[in-house]
């Protein structure tokens, strides 16, 4: 028996050959589509990986749902908390910020001390022990430290360092390292970026913590797990009622737990990215496919006529061309899914190191893959439909006849152009642009989007520079900010000024406040500044300003969330300081950069509380040669609870951003170039195919290769140049959209785009365009002059 060999139909064979013939153009389009699919997949994949890893981690290690702090509550109250309906479990802990004196480090480090239960490991926010063992309950000097800190300092079980615990210097021994779902993102008080070498989490046995902080039989920190289906708001209200007499600062859910909230904003950022960038790429893909398919159909007019004459239906012709677009899309989708999958995995790995997950669950959901593929096919289909329909509708008799030549007629513009007396090759460029304005316009839009992608992505770096400038150079100008566990009389400023190495010292208050307006409530920070405050300043944009002596100046986003305008009065609960709320008038608004803040004067704040002048922190500047002596003195000062080293902070911020930005900048340069290359290469190929005869006859007339090439290169350059201002505007628009969507409650991305960013974007875009048209240009050298002469137009 003869088994018939499966044979491709002639039309399918043509399809595959077309694809092979067009490989360079297919690749240029596929690269653009691939970028879109890859970004979609990467953003979705990473956000998915973060989300799942976090959920699994929380579940496995019993991460609490509600968090509460008080100054000192009796341990017996834990039983009452546990009895609140909806509460499944409560862990009552002692938790404090302390200063560390690390061997070999001049500057102090900070740490959050968290107590471990007397009996066994914690039931909530369980630790994942990475090395070593648990502290012996009887040993007061044994501690577990968080693994990133241990890694940054090179600590192993058995190593020792000193800490200032409740005013007394104590030697501690590391017996283990661990990770905790509570500290996936670990950040020191007042810091802007994680700095594992300068900030630690220390877990110590409850009895040691009780003794160190004079908290025997008491707790100041509670983590609460809820039963399934419990109403979080009512549990929080019940907790607040119970803890109110003990200096409670207000219980909250995971949304305000720092580590959780940072992760939330990161996940949200990635999701937003998936909806902003890929559509740009898909749009350009559709446009490129449209351009190329229209040309193919134009070139194959006679063949289409032939096919129809031979009896192929309109549907067959339609599906033939749609299938070609489908194949182009398949190449792009395959490229995008592969690259996107790899990128997502790599980036997720980077994230796993930046955020402290014991393991990262990376399993791309099939919906992400399917969405990527679907979007790719949709874009290509959208682009091909017009040309394919045109081919299907072409009557065979018309198709077999050559198309009518382009109609040029002399218009007003031509009279103007002849007055200028341009070289004829420039005239050819201008006429081509003017005769096909739609085509030129879409090309301009394409180039503009390439530039826009570059502007909008580089915007992050400018914006973060803007944050740095505002956060450090303009508002927080001190070298070190010393903070105290509770507010102290202003004499402490003089005491700090007497410490060795100090140049300037200024006292301030940082206090947590709960602001309400009508039914709206927001948590914020009060910053109270002395008159003429120089080291810590309120900013109105980039201009330093002083808060008025009466009322408070609010950051604009906070005011918007509270729905208040200047002149209106808020209700302010000063958590842990005053039981009953006070009235606070809104004196003005300033743009927000780092978090929701209400600015006041120190005297205004003290009046609000009805107390003598006090402060909660002192900002200092140091003499260059006095740093070591100052830090030695601080480490030994019992009253100091924290030391925020702004220079270290800035360094951590800059290095994190530099790392991220290098990776991201590279990615975006690739993305932006892909667009420019896709548009320029395909545009030039089509121009060449349409004008081969014209260009060859110019060569015959004796124009040099370069003079002839200029017709192609010049048009691409002209359109690409025209596109730049539009690209800047579009990029600025996308940046504004991103700034708005990415700003979280922790910080506001200022909409800053430096002139250098526009210049860089245009340089990359123009460079990619010119490089790709140069590739096409080489084909002019290979034009068969003799053959051209002999053929009919």
């Amino acid at each position: 028996m003869v088994i018939p060999r499966p044979q491709l139909r002639a039309l399918d064979l043509k399809l595959l050959r077309d694809l092979r013939r067009l490989w360079a153009q297919v690749l240029a389009i596929a690269a653009v589509l691939g970028c879109g699919v890859a970004v979609l997949l990467m953003s979705l994949g990473m956000s998915d990986a973060l989300d799942r890893s976090r959920a699994a981690y929380y579940e496995r290690e019993a991460f609490a749902q509600v968090f509460a702090r008080a100054t000192r509550a009796p341990l017996g109250l834990a039983g009452e908390l546990r009895a609140i309906p909806g509460v499944r479990d409560v862990e009552a802990r002692v938790s404090r910020f302390v200063l560390l004196d690390l061997p070999g480090r001049v500057r102090p480090a900070t740490a959050q001390v968290v107590s471990l239960p007397d009996a066994g490991p914690p039931r909530l926010n369980r630790l994942v022990l990475r090395s070593g063992r648990w502290p012996e309950p009887g040993r007061w000097d044994e501690v577990i430290v968080d693994a990133p800190f241990a890694a940054a300092q090179g600590y192993r079980p058995g190593d020792r360092f000193a800490a200032n615990l409740g005013g007394a210097r104590r030697e501690l021994t590391v017996v283990g390292t661990a990770l905790s779902p509570e500290f996936v993102y670990t950040i020191g008080p007042g810091a802007m970026m994680p700095d594992p070498s300068g900030h630690a989490v220390i877990w110590m046995p409850r009895r040691a913590a009780e003794a160190a902080f004079d908290m025997t039989g008491a707790f100041d920190d509670a983590v609460i797990a809820l039963r399934r289906g419990a109403d979080e708001a009512s549990v929080i209200a019940a907790i607040d009622r119970l803890l109110a007499p003990y200096g409670a600062t207000g219980a909250h859910g995971r949304d305000r737990q720092i580590s959780h909230a940072f992760l939330d904003s990161e996940i949200e950022t990635l999701r937003v990215m998936a909806w902003i960038l890929p559509p740009v790429f898909l749009l350009i893909t559709a446009f490129l496919v449209n351009m190329v398919m229209a040309r193919i159909v134009a070139l194959e007019r006679a063949e289409i006529g032939l096919l129809k004459a031979a009896g192929y239906s309109n549907g067959a012709v339609l599906s033939h061309y749609l299938l070609l677009a489908g194949l182009i899309a398949s190449v792009g989708i395959a490229l995008g899914l592969t690259v996107g999958g790899v990128l997502a995995r790599e980036m997720a790995g980077l994230y796993a190191r930046f955020y402290n997950f014991p393991e990262l669950i990376f399993s791309m959901s099939w919906t992400a893959w399917a969405l990527g593929a679907l979007a790719g096919f949709a874009a290509a289909g959208l682009g091909a439909t017009r040309a394919a329909l045109g081919a299907a509708r072409l009557p065979p008799a018309v198709a077999m006849a050559p198309p009518s030549p382009p109609r040029f007629a002399r218009g007003a513009v031509d009279r103007l152009l002849s007055a200028v007396r341009l070289p004829q090759t420039d005239m050819m460029i201008l006429r081509s642009v003017l005769r096909w304005p739609l085509r030129a316009g879409t090309a301009v839009l394409g180039y503009a989007l390439g530039t826009a992608i570059l502007v909008s992505s580089s915007f992050f770096s400018d914006s973060l520079d803007g944050i740095m400038e505002r956060a450090f150079d303009l508002s927080n100008r001190a070298d070190v900010v010393l903070s105290f566990p509770r507010d102290l009389p202003v004499d402490v400023i003089a005491a700090v000024r007497d410490l060795p190495g100090v140049l300037q010292a200024e006292g301030h208050v940082y206090a947590a406040v709960r602001l309400s307006h009508g039914h709206l409530t927001e948590d914020a920070t009060i910053q109270a500044l002395p008159p003429g405050s120089d080291l810590t300043r309120m900013l109105d944009g980039t201009r330093p300003a002083a808060p008025p002596d009466a009322g408070a100046v609010l950051t604009d986003r906070l005011a918007a969330r509270l729905g208040v305008r200047p002149g209106e009065v808020l209700r302010a609960e000063l958590v842990g300081l005053r039981r009953d709320p006070v009235a606070l008038r809104v004196a003005g608004l300033v743009p927000e950069v780092m978090g929701a803040t209400a600015y006041m004067t120190l005297s205004g704040y003290d009046r609000l509380l009805g107390r003598p002048p006090k402060i909660s922190s002192v900002a200092v500047t140091l003499r260059a040669d006095g740093e070591a002596a100052f830090h030695r003195a601080v480490k030994a000062a019992p009253a100091v609870g924290g030391a925020l080293l702004l220079a270290d902070n800035r360094r951590a911020f800059e290095s994190t951003i530099a790392q991220n930005m290098t990776v991201m900048a590279t990615v975006y340069v690739v993305l932006g170039s892909a667009i420019a290359i896709g548009v320029a290469y395909n545009g030039a190929r089509i121009q060449l195919s349409e004008r081969a005869r014209e260009l060859a006859s110019l060569r015959i007339l004796g124009l040099t290769r370069w003079e002839v090439s200029w017709v192609l290169v010049g048009e691409v350059l002209l359109l690409a140049l025209l596109a730049q201002p539009l690209g800047w505007a579009l990029g600025y628009g996308i940046a504004a959209l991103m700034a708005d969507r990415f700003s979280s409650e922790f910080y506001t991305l200022p909409l800053v785009v430096e002139p250098a960013t526009f210049a860089f974007a245009s340089l990359v875009s123009l460079g990619a365009s010119v490089a790709s048209v140069m590739l096409v240009r080489r084909r002019i050298d290979r034009l068969d002059l003799v053959a051209v002469m002999k053929t009919r137009e």
Binding site: F408, Q424, T425, R435, E694, L701, V786, M789, E793
Partner: protein, 246 residues
Amino acid sequence: MDDSSRMWADAPGAVAFRTEALCKVYETGPVRVVALDNVDLTLRMGELTVLLGASGSGKSTLLNILGGLDHASSGRVWYRELELTALGDRALTRYRRDHVGFVFQFYNLVPSLTARENVRLVTDIAPDPMPAEEALGLVGLGARMDHFPAQLSGGEQQRVAIARAVAKRPGVLLCDEPTGALDSRTGVQVLEVLDRVNRETGTTTVVITHNAGIRAMAHRVLRFADGRLASEEVNATRVAPSEIVW
């Protein structure tokens, strides 16, 4: 190379082109086609020469080599004292630019440029051109200078192509089937223009044609067959284009 201005109205009778054992072989895979087979010929200054022959006889190949569009496989070609077969691509471009005017069967005008601008394509780069307007006047199109090719008839387009070719005051005018796409009335108009250019400017002119009737207007007629020069005749008296029997 830089004597093109003197070329315009050069001494009649001097040698314009000379070939020596000129061969052109096209090889595509195993197929070997001999287009020109040992051709020796001489074309003289100021003459209008007609090349006759069937398709594939080698006349177009000869024209392409004379015009610097194609390379010989072997043998040598001189344009006056300049050996074309020794020139590289860049020098051939320069040669075309300075000395050669081409007229093609399908006009090869740039559709996005007007008649005047198509001529300027050449006058912009030639060392000693005549004004584009003068060239168009020479071919009788002074009134249609600002029309685009699509607004002109076939004959008019071919006359623009001739104006474009002569505007640089070329040493030689090479025409490949200039009337091939035209009806007889328009064809005669085009031939009249070529004749006039040849008479008034003394430009050496080579015309390829299938139409044997055209030979009557030439000084010299070369007949090609199978890549060889089959015969050469000199017309004692030339016939005006209008009298040519089509």
